[in-house]
Symmetry: C2
Subunit: 336 residues, 2 copies
């Protein structure tokens, strides 16, 4: 086991918690940790004209006639140069008593969200954010064609405190051969609720939030957003499509437009309240190979990183959030 | 529910994940976030001579004849001035469909680890670190007398990246009326293993680690330490007593001496490898009211904070660790 090829997924010997041991990540440069990081602008590998500094693109929205891996694009998706998982490793799962591991097979992609050196997704025009959400849809569909992959996690890290290492606005897609345990818990809970009540727990939650009103942040024709009742982070906000739907990549164009614009609106408002605060957002959707489900409902969780995550949280799994979600919603609503 | 008294524990509407909504924490000053934070030394509320700036002490190791809340102490435990939970709130659990909450009843204490302004526990002499580990024992015993409390979490945040807001070396104890779900999972897993094998999973893990050797970091007469097979963090190290024991606060004096000295040795070595890296350490022990158990084994987890926790981790529960635990152990061993 100790001579195995990395990257590797390992299970904790005690609890059902998996970890990705990914030595290639250690070589990743962290331009943002240097105080003068804005100077890096001039050598940014994500800017138009420096396509040769990334791996080849797997998707691009480009001007007609422009060439792959050259200028003339609106958005590019490329392989991560410091991947946490790889598509080219072999090996089998291995269980040796308390020690279980398997090869870290997968795909790790970067969505370069704009050609110019802009650090903030929220600062981009609406049509550009719509391209970002369209790229998630296109890549999820494409990754489903790799039969080894079970789940594709779309996420964004904005700001050093949220784990970003490159300034140029980007998000990531990390696809694994295993459904991660954190999502498995959510699917299991949704399925248990559906068995008991014959309804989708997210549809019910949305109905309750609309009725209560105190945590509602924004609602459009196709999507709704509210602060999470038990948000781990201050201003934690969830966004759902109003129509029940399990797979993000089957969303309609009008839903996509509303989802993208609403995320933009919330991020802009968050930035106003907290001075361009660091945040993560994450997409929760059905596993790539799952049939559509009456129990599960895709959603986006926006996780502002205004508070540190410390020993208490890692010891207990219980986060401390200093901003009551009702108060956070009132502040968010006030400027929308 | 929205008019409830804070602090409040809330359950996530979907999964079994609890959050502490604690508005008083928002008022906490964060001296460490200011670049010139070392200047705060002169106004540090934890230094000897400024006892009037803390809440009254609940425990102190002091020179004979010295007066409570005055100078002359080696270690003090005081109430946290910005508590995440409180002992003086009333109220009952409340379940309203998907929304479950209960009052954040508990105790939140600070262990001031030395009288002089020293930022690093690892820099203290052995006998002082032994006092810190004795204080944990004494406070756990004392907190058991409050019948409302179910679990007391001992933890330490060292450095800004680990969530510390005060420089003077200190740790914390946060006791709750509910066993946190993260620990409940660990207890459940240990109990399931014991039912299946009639053995303690931690005793078995220690035996396997000693046999394998590659992750062993240090071993004394009474305790052993190894890097975690599926460590979430680079250099994550677990320390266990070699004798099976569920309750930390029933450890013997020789065990306490060995545990304290070994934690000190590992923290010093970590600081050498990574230039005074930020870290958390957390104590996992049986719930306050639990009978001794053949299934569970107290232990300390040392969690260095060299890598950010980002969107992928919060989305999936799966951490990415760039340092293989076998390599981390070799580095740690090399200097011990």
């Amino acid at each position: 086991m100790t001579n195995s090829t990395f990257p590797q997924l390992r299970k904790d010997p005690i609890v059902d918690r998996w970890v990705l041991i990914a030595p290639e990540r250690a070589e990743r440069p962290t331009e943002l940790e240097e105080p003068a990081h804005l100077a890096h602008h001039e050598t940014c590998p994500f800017c138009e004209g420096r396509e040769g500094e990334t791996t080849p693109e797997v998707l691009a929205y480009r001007a007609p006639g422009s060439r792959p891996d050259g200028p003339g694009w609106k958005l590019r998706v490329v392989g991560n140069r410091y991947p946490a998982v790889r598509g080219d490793i072999l090996g089998k799962p291995c269980i040796d008593g308390l020690f279980a591991a398997e090869p870290g097979v997968g795909a790790h992609e970067v969505v370069v969200e704009c050609p110019q050196h802009e650090a903030s997704l929220a600062a981009l025009p609406q049509e550009q954010i719509q391209r970002v959400f369209a790229a998630y849809r296109d890549r999820l569909k494409a990754l489903r064609n790799d039969e080894r992959l079970a789940y594709a996690q779309v996420f964004k890290n904005h700001g050093v405190a949220a784990g970003a290492s490159v300034e140029h606005s980007h998000s990531q897609i990390l696809a694994l051969a295993r459904v991660p345990h954190g999502l498995r818990e959510e699917f299991d809970a949704a399925n248990a609720y559906h068995r008991a009540h014959d309804r989708c727990i997210f549809c019910d939650l949305l109905a309750r939030e609309r009725e209560a009103g105190v945590r509602m942040v924004n609602e459009t024709e196709y999507v709704a957003a509210f602060t999470a009742f038990a948000g781990r982070f201050p201003y934690e906000t969830w966004l759902l499509p109003k129509r029940h739907a399990g797979h993000y990549d089957r969303l309609t164009d009008p839903e996509l437009t509303d989802a993208a614009n609403t995320v933009r609106t919330i991020l802009r408002r968050l930035g106003e309240i907290n001075d361009d605060a660091a945040y993560n957002y994450v997409l929760h959707t059905l596993p790539l190979r799952a049939a559509d489900s009456p129990a599960y409902h895709w959603h986006i969780e926006i996780l502002p990183r205004l508070t540190g995550v410390a020993g208490f949280e890692f010891a207990t799994g219980c986060f401390a959030n200093p901003v009551p979600p009702e108060e956070a919603a009132a502040q968010l609503r006030a400027g929308i």
